[in-house]
Amino acid sequence: MPGLSLWPVRHSRGLLRYAWATCIVAGGTLLAEALYRTFDITRLSMVFLAAVLVAALHLGRGPALLSAILAFLIYNFYLVEPRFTLQFASAEDFLTLLLFLAVALGTGSLAGRVSDEVTQRRSRERTLSTLFEASRLMSATENEHVLRERIAEVVASAAQGFAVVIGDDHVRHASGDVEERRAAEVTAGELARSAMSRAAGTTLRSGIWSSRPLQADDRTFGAVVWRPASDRERRGSEVEGLIDVLVDLGAAAIARAWLSSVKAEIEAVTQAERLRTALLSSISHDFRTPLATILASASSLLEYDGKLDAGVRRDLLENIQEEVERLNRFVANLLNMTRLESGVLEVRTEPVLVREVIDRVLHRLGRRSGGRKLTQLISFRDLEVQADPVLLEQALTNIAENAVSYSPEASEVTVWANEMDGQVVIDISDEGAGVPARDQARIFDKFYRVAQSGPAPQGAGLGLSIARGLIEAMGGQVLAGGRSDGRSGLSVEMRLPRVTSA
């Protein structure tokens, strides 16, 4: 397991380190004995000092000091004349011994401290990199499921054992075989339940098991339960602290994921609500005005029939007819939008003469164009497009109506059609204020309306959105841009499949 090398044994068990220190000194003694026997060297203090240094570098300060004292005693007992006593023969020997002890203690202490610092630094680095890795893993996803799995993995690896994340209804495993999991789940479940009922920020320990609730922003998202792989003594407090931080990090990540899912939900609801409100207000306005006009005109004709001039009577009748047509268009638009939204729009394409469709659109628009000049430029008379004639007419009407609504009176609206790259291109340009480049893609969004300085034209901002839906349903594309001649105004370009003469 790669995790084991991260948490070396010698640093996690205090007593063992001292045992190791004793062993190292014993080894040094054996080596000294061997050298003494073979080469009959008596000045072997360096061997013992080397043993102290080795112990210090590998085991840290405490074991180093132990080894220094041991080495001093053994050296004195074993090599200093008279041998096998703790006595010494001369003042010189005494001085040598004293010096040995001082050097051994000093070396052991210094080297041990260096070793301790290295160990601590390594451990801090490991903690940091574990935390960094964990936060990277957790911020990489907003999927709560994945997050819970990752938390379990990270905690299991830090605990070098087994970890379970228990949520309201999820249980995720990170390590351990099936048998172990089953046994663990029962313990874990109980522990998690009591951990969740605790105040935030407390870790509950029971035997080798630990549990900490996943809490963030006063909300509990479950709990993590973990234990080391074996039943040996628990990890150091440093590791426990690290795991606590990991669990809290995980809780924060889950809270974030949860909040963003709630936010997305709210946004979806708001969007639907906005749609409904806009639709309602649009219906109430776009339906009520024609209805009011029709009712007023018809009742006026009934009430004042004899008194009204012939011209006025005719005008009222025409008014009724136009408003009924307007209602009819509006109903068609609403129906198409509903069909587009629900994906049940039926498209029946056939070859359609572009000239005829544009004629019809402009003729009907003519009455409502308010003095605007409507021009059509069609490259050749027989230009045909593969489209649904009804839907195409509706789409063109919507785009042309938009051009009329957003351009000044007495300006010109141009409808241009041509064949390009095997497609039929129809372009409707007006001489209005145009749309800033950054907003050009958005004008096809539902309910998008350009911010106006003056009074805004009527409408709910559905026309262009429906037009795009219809054109795309017929396999075409719609693009908005500035006019190609550089003047101010909006140009909406449609591309549809051409009818091949074959």
Binding site: S284, A292, A296, S300, E303, L308, G454, P455
Partner: protein, 232 residues
Amino acid sequence: MIPQSRILVVDDEPQLLRVLRPTLATAGYDVTTAETGASAITTSAASQFDLLLLDLGLPDMDGKDVISRVREWSDVPILVLSARDIEAEKIEALDRGADDYVNKPFAMGELMARIRAALRGRQRRYSTQGRFKAAELEIDFSTRRVSVFGEEVRLTRREYDLLRTMALHAGKVVTHKQLIAAVWGPQASVEAQFVRVLVGQVRQKIEEDSSVPRLLLTEAGLGYRLRSEDEE
């Protein structure tokens, strides 16, 4: 022949103006039109009108603000055109000083009747007659005497204040708020429920069958309307 009444029609829908203008003209009114709130304000300030027919949905400003502005200097009757379902808007329009409303869509006959009632109210307000009569109900303002079918009816002070207020605006809607101001005083904080109770008491005394009122009518959600003097 009485001089033609002058009506300012404020509406931004050309198709609706196309009906209103000739029809009102045929009915004998002198019609001027304005398509924005701003032009409505300047036009009504520039010359004298007998009635404002105001659509609340205007392109440049809220129709209710037009009422407030016009009311700063003029008590010309204001008849509001509004959608049926926007109750709150109508109440606010009436509270700000509109005299009456007509739901959109409307039939010409109804609009004409409301216009006539509003014009009559204007004349009555300036008449020196101290009397009001609608069907069997009679009020003598000088003696505070109220009678039904010629028999005197005793009203409390508040009941009389309410009935007098309704009579001064006969044929038009009076909102809860306006009634509270007239009966309890403009600063009073009285709940609409009190008005309902008071209206009930008045009905007990003046209606033949107070559960089917024919004189003091309820305008659901808005307020009350007293039958106007010479309605059929």
